[in-house]
């Protein structure tokens, strides 16, 4: 079953991704064309394929301990004051 992507679909996804697009037409054609191209994947026989997993043994990870970050990382934060960041109000 092929479901063509509509402008509303694109607006919906953009909203979920928190992207403000002024003109959906600017993206509609190219996104539809690219998604149609992705349909090529339907032609591959994948019956016996598994999804690959990247495993890392816990012993290979670095120690789980607190290391203070000496650099001034927080100096990059905007609207930072006394340990808090000011953000727009939540509704």
């Amino acid at each position: 079953m092929i479901r063509l992507v509509t402008k509303e679909d694109i607006e919906h996804v953009a909203r979920l991704m928190r992207i403000d697009i002024e003109n959906v037409d600017e993206y509609f054609e190219s996104i539809q064309k690219i998604l149609n191209y992705f349909d090529n994947l339907d032609k591959v026989d994948l019956a016996s394929e598994e999804i690959p997993i990247h495993e890392v043994t816990v012993s290979e990870l670095r120690d789980d301990k607190y290391v203070p970050f000496e650099s001034k990382l927080i100096s990059q934060l905007k609207s930072y004051k006394e340990g808090f960041i000011r953000a727009p109000k939540m509704n």
């Binding site: 928190r18 993206y27 690219i34 998604l35 992705f38 090529n40 000011r86 727009p88």
Partner: protein, 482 residues
């Protein structure tokens, strides 16, 4: 001393006292100010470079211990963090962002007395193949400034090609080191996934991307790899390479090696005739070096572009969600917005290609679409890996043209993103399967460079560099026409 020296020649000259670091760095900066207004390889220049050069000269004069690079000017793609300097990813979203720490590769270069001469241009967040998506304007190909330099690490390739540094570091997610290396007639390597730490590289599609070196010679790339590879506790995907020396025996040759020509990458409608002809001359060159050359079919290559863009957009959608303009970002007053609309508004500062990929990246893993796109792409990736494993049972190397087309003019492909994506067809297999691949400059056709791509099996960089070195020995290329 000419700026066109190799890294190895530079080091010898400094060691022998034929040049000082200061003299060479000063000449390099002159070259940049002379050509970079037009070429636009750099987004920022290290203002302390000359001071650092003098310091290095002092250390050499005093007989102090000196690192392997002897003050060599090296450029770094602007999505790799250098402490205290701007890291913009060629995006307005990060304009003015100052990196609070060094990427692992950057600390490693600094520890070996490299001078990081500047940060190079790229497509915004490394999404593109021409640098045309840089928010600060494209870089130009020094071989012909009407043409794109390739991308996304186009600035790095231009800086090396135009003698504005000796070597560079880029990042390769789908060919972003090899493609511009090919278009600018230099050498570019995408190492095995995990060989080089990604700590401090701004993430785009972190399950497949790797930092890789550029140089004008194969041995220069080997030298850089010697010093950037290896285990890093800050990147759990890194692999211990036991400090392998990639320069040692680089001239071993390829007598008796078996080379497979990847059929799906070396014929067909999308392949430029001139590229095809050059490629077969390269295949003959390999035979004349004592290797055997046969065809090998990798059936799934035809599906790699779709697979790649499903996986990378999904990862980009997630990785770029951190740009909320609160933790990073530009000046946008908080007043008058509620939380969600503030973030949405702030993200208008992303360029169109980033927005396109984020929307695609929202689609492909979403409920109702994941089974059709994301999960399927992951399975194709698994199956492709098996095809590659089988191919390396029969062959030592797999070859193809690096890019199926010649460098093209600005604007030729920006109207059709899919056409742009298809230029990646020969390079993305190495990313999807994790194997190393290198682009070696081979010919100049009508003033436009053509590169040859060689793949080797996982962690076989030493063999790969030997093959690349052998091929380089068969070429006689003109200098860049600056």
């Amino acid at each position: 001393m000419s700026l066109a020296v190799s890294a190895i020649e530079y080091i010898d000259n400094v060691k022998n006292g034929n040049t000082t670091v200061e003299d060479f760095v000063a000449k390099t900066l002159e070259q940049i100010s002379k050509h970079d207004t037009k070429l636009h390889a750099y987004l920022s220049i290290n203002e302390n470079a000359l001071d650092q050069a003098r310091q290095t000269d002092k250390k050499i004069k005093a007989g102090e211990k000196i690192g392997a690079f002897y003050g060599m000017p090296i450029s770094v793609k602007d999505n790799i963090c250098v402490k205290g300097g701007k890291t913009t990813c060629a995006s307005k979203m990060l304009e003015g962002f100052v990196a609070p720490y060094d990427a692992t590769v950057v600390s490693k270069l600094k520890n070996q007395d490299a001078i990081l001469i500047g940060k190079t241009n790229l497509d915004e967040f490394a999404m593109g193949a021409t640098t045309e998506y840089s928010a600060f304007g494209p870089s130009r190909n020094p071989w012909n400034t009407e043409y794109v330099p390739g991308g996304s690490s186009g600035g790095s390739a231009v800086s090396v090609s135009a003698l504005e540094c000796i070597a560079s570091l880029g990042s390769d997610t789908g060919g972003s080191v090899r493609n511009p290396a090919s278009f600018c007639s230099i050498v570019g390597l995408k190492p095995t996934y995990g060989l080089v730490s990604r700590y401090g590289l701004v993430s785009y599609a972190n399950s497949i991307e790797q930092i890789g070196p550029f140089g004008r010679r194969v041995e220069d790339v080997a030298l850089l790899l010697n010093h950037i590879a290896g285990k890093d506790q800050n990147d759990s995907t890194t692999i211990d390479n036991h400090s392998q020396d990639y320069l040692d025996k680089i001239d071993a040759g390829i007598q008796g090696k078996k080379i497979g020509v990847i059929s799906e990458m070396s014929k067909g409608d999308g392949l430029d005739k001139n590229v095809e002809n050059a490629f077969w001359r390269a295949a003959s060159a390999f035979e004349s070096l004592g290797a055997s050359v046969d065809q090998v079919s990798l059936d799934l290559v035809q599906h790699t572009v779709a697979t790649y863009y499903v996986l990378t957009t999904a990862e980009a959608g997630s990785n770029l969600s951190r740009y909320d303009n609160l933790r990073y970002g530009y000046s946008l007053d908080l007043e008058g917005y509620e939380f969600k609309s503030y973030i949405s508004k702030a993200r208008r500062n992303f360029g169109p290609e980033v927005i396109r990929r984020m929307i695609l990246g929202g689609f492909v893993p979403s409920a109702g679409f994941a089974g059709k796109y994301l999960l399927k792409a992951l399975k194709v990736k698994s199956k492709l890996k098996k095809e590659i494993v089988d191919a390396f049972k029969k062959f030592d190397f797999l070859i193809s043209p690096t890019v199926p087309i010649l460098p093209f003019k600005f604007g030729e492909k920006t109207e059709d993103p899919l056409a742009m994506y298809l230029a990646d067809i020969n390079t993305i297999t190495a990313n999807l399967t994790g194997i190393p691949a290198i682009s070696v400059p081979f010919e100049i056709h009508d003033g436009l460079p053509i590169g040859i791509q060689i793949h080797a099996n996982m962690l076989q960089e030493k063999l790969l560099l030997q093959a690349a070195y052998a091929l380089q020995g068969t070429t006689k290329l003109p200098g860049v026409p600056l």
